[in-house]
């Protein structure tokens, strides 16, 4: 197992190098704004523009720029400085990460707690009103864009602009260490909004998997052995049905840790997603590179974790 994990980690490093190269190429090949011109404004003459380019290191050949980035990253764990604010990319990521982690894990807890029972009950009570309600609700959840749902939640329930002012609205986020109660209340609406789509997807998937699993021979055997229906469903059915969802959850969590851009934007949460969006707007390449690499890291780590979890959940994988 250790060799397997090590092999995956090494592949992850290679993948990160490829992601960084791809980000670099995309930034310079596709027509994005010129960071030097954005900073210079329209009055700047060619000489001033050249000075700014030199300051930002943009006057050097692309290969030299990339090599410098790579060596600084590998040798000094240095992601460089933002073209826009001058702050170090590392400090920006560290500053924004807690908000994204808070948002992601809260939403994960909600969607797992809601989607799993819903999916199981809908599968067991197939064709009943519970099933129809779950399936219909899931369809709505999947169809509703997060941005729209976020605005709707704020217009309905935010304590400043909501019709029914129940919860803190946009811009109310504070770090957990500053004020735990406000941290909790400020994240309830974002968690619910972010979890809604995932809950819908996972409930639908789990329902489908459960229906399939519950018709398997080994489940019939379990029933024939006289096990209670609850034990059959939760111990034998769910364990097999949930395995594919673990893979999906790993990827989703990894992606969300890379930034839930829309949710963070609507609710004014200073997370990685918003940082990435702002960097794209300002053609702030070092920050774009930093956020993309961080997101890639999370996805790779999540994948490795999923593989390990797979081995735990499925004895066949362990044996292989």
């Amino acid at each position: 197992m250790a060799a397997y994990v090590l092999r995956r980690v090494l592949w992850g490093v290679v993948l990160l190098a490829l992601v960084s190269l791809l980000t670099f190429v995309v930034f310079y090949v596709l027509p994005s704004a010129d960071p030097a011109q954005l900073r210079a404004g329209r009055n700047a003459d060619p000489a001033t523009l050249a000075q700014i380019r030199q300051n930002l290191g943009l006057d050097r050949p692309l290969t030299a720029q990339y090599w410098t980035f790579l060596t600084h990253l590998v040798l000094h764990a240095d992601l460089g400085f933002s073209y826009y604010s001058g702050a170090s990319v590392g400090s920006l990521l560290v500053d924004r990460l807690p908000a994204t982690i808070s948002l992601t894990f809260g939403a994960v807890v909600i969607w797992v707690l809601v989607a799993v029972p819903l999916g199981v009950v809908a599968a067991v009570r197939r064709g009943t009103w519970v099933d129809k309600l779950t399936t219909g609700g899931a369809l709505l959840g999947i169809s509703a864009p997060v941005y729209w749902l976020g605005l709707l939640a704020l217009y309905l329930f935010a304590d400043d602009i909501g019709t029914f002012p129940l919860l803190p609205g946009a811009g109310s986020y504070v770090p957990l260490t500053d004020d735990p109660w406000q941290w909790l209340t400020s994240l309830i609406l974002p968690w619910l909004v972010l979890a809604s789509t995932f809950t819908a997807v996972y409930a639908r998937l789990l329902r489908g998997n459960m229906i399939e699993v519950l018709s398997e021979d080994y489940v019939r055997t379990a029933r024939a052995k006289g096990l209670s229906e609850r034990r059959v469903v939760w111990n034998h059915g769910l364990r097999a049905a949930v395995t594919p969802l673990v893979t999906l959850a790993g990827l989703d969590i990894g992606l969300l840790l890379g930034g839930a851009v829309l949710t963070e934007a609507v609710f004014g949460i200073p997370g990685i997603g918003r940082l990435n969006y702002e960097a794209i707007v300002h053609a702030d390449y070092p920050v774009i590179q930093g956020t993309v690499l961080l997101a890639a890291c999370f996805v790779i780590v999540a994948n490795i974790a999923v593989d390990v979890a797979y081995a735990y959940l499925d004895p066949r994988v362990r044996e292989q």
């Binding site: 994005s32 954005l38 900073r39 210079a40 404004g41 329209r42 001033t48 602009i161 946009a170 811009g171």
Partner: protein, 585 residues
């Protein structure tokens, strides 16, 4: 026709959705039916204002920045030599200067006396001298600072052509409170006016020099104020990560070393907190419903409609917020032919272009390039225009357009050439709607077009500002003055000497020898009235070429909470001036 319907439908829906067309079609003057410009006198002291902005500031360094939001911050944290009162956007008033600028030697020497008793904020905490202003300007030429307009406005100072951050011979400080600029050409009038820009805000050399030695300069992270407010900082003066967290927040607190004596600013507020990076849509709603809030973003059309209909005291339409125009590339066919350009200008329905943005409330139909609030606007024709026939009908004149096309050699009155014109506009309503109206106009004249809609940075940086991109027309460009002098509106934008291979500000690539000569004379004209006349005439000459089609004099809507007594900076898009704004008790 189906294509026309297809393109017109979204516009119609937009108009119906926003409902602003109705506002625009009334006979009321849009500007006066909203909140009026308040001078702020007798404001209530105390309280903290919260500013909501989805866009971050660019830089806190007065030597680097001059973006609108940054100027808004610097207006209350820095003291430049001269400034504008918020509601008098064309009248220069002394700020750090002790009196009016003294121009001598036929316009080749500018002398400014510095006010005594102005002190830097902590940790510098000493009196400001003329040497601090001298260093501030000199560092603008330091490659690590690379100020974008230093060479434009200070380029005639003796020695500036060789400047790279060290002493400039033409900036002299005969004593601690006198600053003398010696110039190679008689451009002291323009130089005096340009000192309203933040580059003339004093910078303490002994403190800033180590930061300026780094590439790029790190002074923004340690910036020192002289105005009534300062960015909250640690004991060493570091603001980055303290008072300013990029993309998140900016906190202005009172500068303990500021004295009301000798400053025209009342500074009623205890502090100003910026919340940065959220959704503009949500911020807008919060501002209208909340307390102590100001929206620094341009409001969405939906918010303008809501504020206009439900809370007119909470929206102010700031006049003189720039000219919007469609640039036609005079360097390549078919717009190298003046008659073709005039045909486009005649055909364009500028009324419709305004309507999709909200109608009369958001501005007047433009008919030349100097705009209200800039010296020379009235002399160039004011709102009536310069008198050219191709801009006489804001709703478009297809018969006249056909005549110009025939004059250009197209007997049918429609273009019959084979090439496809590259049009680059801004993505996102209402800009994209304006681009589509322009595009449809070209098609109606017989042109084949390819319309590309991109964001602002890409439009200027990769297409409209790059001559080798060979873009035929850019319908969404515009210009905002740097200060009230008309040269700042026309010179870079239409002077043939400023056609650069990149970051080219002369988007139509107009290179007319007569206009270039007139501009060279205009640059050397001394005295506000004479300069206004000279540049008004240049404006008429540019308009007559139809190198660009002016279509809107912007009024910028600004939204604030009901308990905020916003004093709009009419010289800066109408942002609430924090040094004059107060909270109602």
């Amino acid at each position: 026709m189906p294509r026309l319907v297809k393109r017109a439908l979204p516009l119609l829906l937009l108009i119906l959705a926003t409902g602003l067309a109705a506002c625009g079609s009334s006979s009321d003057n849009g500007g006066s039916s909203s909140a009026t410009a308040d001078d702020g006198a007798g404001g209530h002291r105390g309280g903290t204002l919260t500013v909501l902005t989805s866009q971050d500031i660019t830089s806190l360094d007065p030597g680097i920045t001059y973006q609108s939001l940054d100027l808004n911050v610097l207006a209350s944290t820095m003291r430049t030599l001269y400034t504008y009162e918020p509601t008098a956007p064309a009248t220069l008033v002394p700020d750090l200067a002790a009196g009016p600028p003294q121009i001598s030697d036929g316009g080749k020497t500018l002398t400014v006396r510095i006010r005594r008793g102005v002190r830097f904020a902590p940790p510098v905490s000493r009196e400001v001298t003329a040497r601090d202003v001298k260093y501030a300007i000199e560092r603008g030429f330091n490659p690590n600072v690379a100020n974008a307009y230093a060479s434009t406005y200070y380029g005639d100072v003796v020695g500036a052509d060789r400047a790279s951050g060290g002493a400039i011979a033409g900036i002299q400080t005969p004593d601690d409170f006198t600053l003398v600029f010696r110039l190679t050409r008689p451009t002291a009038s323009l130089l005096a006016q340009s000192t309203v820009l933040p580059l003339s805000a004093p910078v303490p050399q002994e403190y800033a020099k180590p930061f300026d030695a780094k590439a790029p300069s790190q002074y923004a992270a340690h910036v020192v104020s002289t105005g009534p407010y300062m960015v909250a900082a640690d004991s060493d003066g570091k603001v980055l990560g303290e008072g300013y967290v990029p993309g998140r927040s900016l906190r202005l607190v009172r500068n303990p070393n500021w004295s009301a004596a000798g400053d025209h600013r009342p500074a009623y507020l205890d502090g100003i907190d910026f919340e940065i990076g959220g959704s503009g849509t949500v911020y807008g709603r919060q501002t209208l419903a909340g307390r102590g809030l100001v929206l620094a973003d341009p409001p969405t059309p939906a918010l303008v409609k809501k504020a206009y209909q439900e809370a007119r005291d909470q929206i102010f339409f700031s006049p003189g917020a720039g000219t919007r125009y469609a640039a036609l590339n005079t360097a390549i066919p078919p717009f190298d032919d003046a008659n073709v350009r005039k045909a486009v200008a005649a055909a364009l329905d500028r009324e419709q272009m305004r309507r999709v943005r909200g109608g009369e409330v958001i501005g007047d139909i433009a008919s030349h390039f100097l705009y209200p609030g800039v010296q020379g606007f009235e002399k160039a024709g004011g709102l009536e225009g310069t008198g050219v026939d191709f801009l006489a009908h804001p709703e478009g004149d297809t018969a006249l357009a056909a005549r110009y096309m025939r004059a250009a050699g197209y007997p049918s009155g429609r273009y019959t050439g084979g090439e496809t014109l590259q049009i680059v506009g801004l993505a996102g309503a209402p800009d994209s709607n304006d681009a589509q109206i322009f595009d449809q106009t070209l098609q109606d004249l017989g042109f084949k077009t390819s319309l590309k809609l991109v964001d602002s940075g890409v439009m200027y940086g990769r297409f409209c500002g790059v001559p080798r991109a060979r873009v035929h027309a850019c319908p969404n460009v515009g210009w905002i003055r740097d200060f009230a002098d008309p040269q700042t509106v026309l010179n870079l934008a239409f002077n043939g000497n400023f056609i650069f291979p990149e970051n080219n500000p002369n988007w139509p690539q107009l290179n007319d020898a007569a206009i270039n000569r007139a501009m060279a004379r205009g640059e050397l004209t001394v005295g506000d009235a004479a300069r206004a006349s000279a540049w008004a005439e240049i404006d008429r000459m540019i308009t007559a070429t139809a190198a660009a089609v002016p279509w809107l004099y912007d009024r910028q809507p600004n939204v604030f909470a009901a308990d905020v007594r916003c004093v709009p900076e009419l010289w800066n898009q109408g942002h609430c001036d924090f040094a004059y704004t107060s909270l109602k008790p």
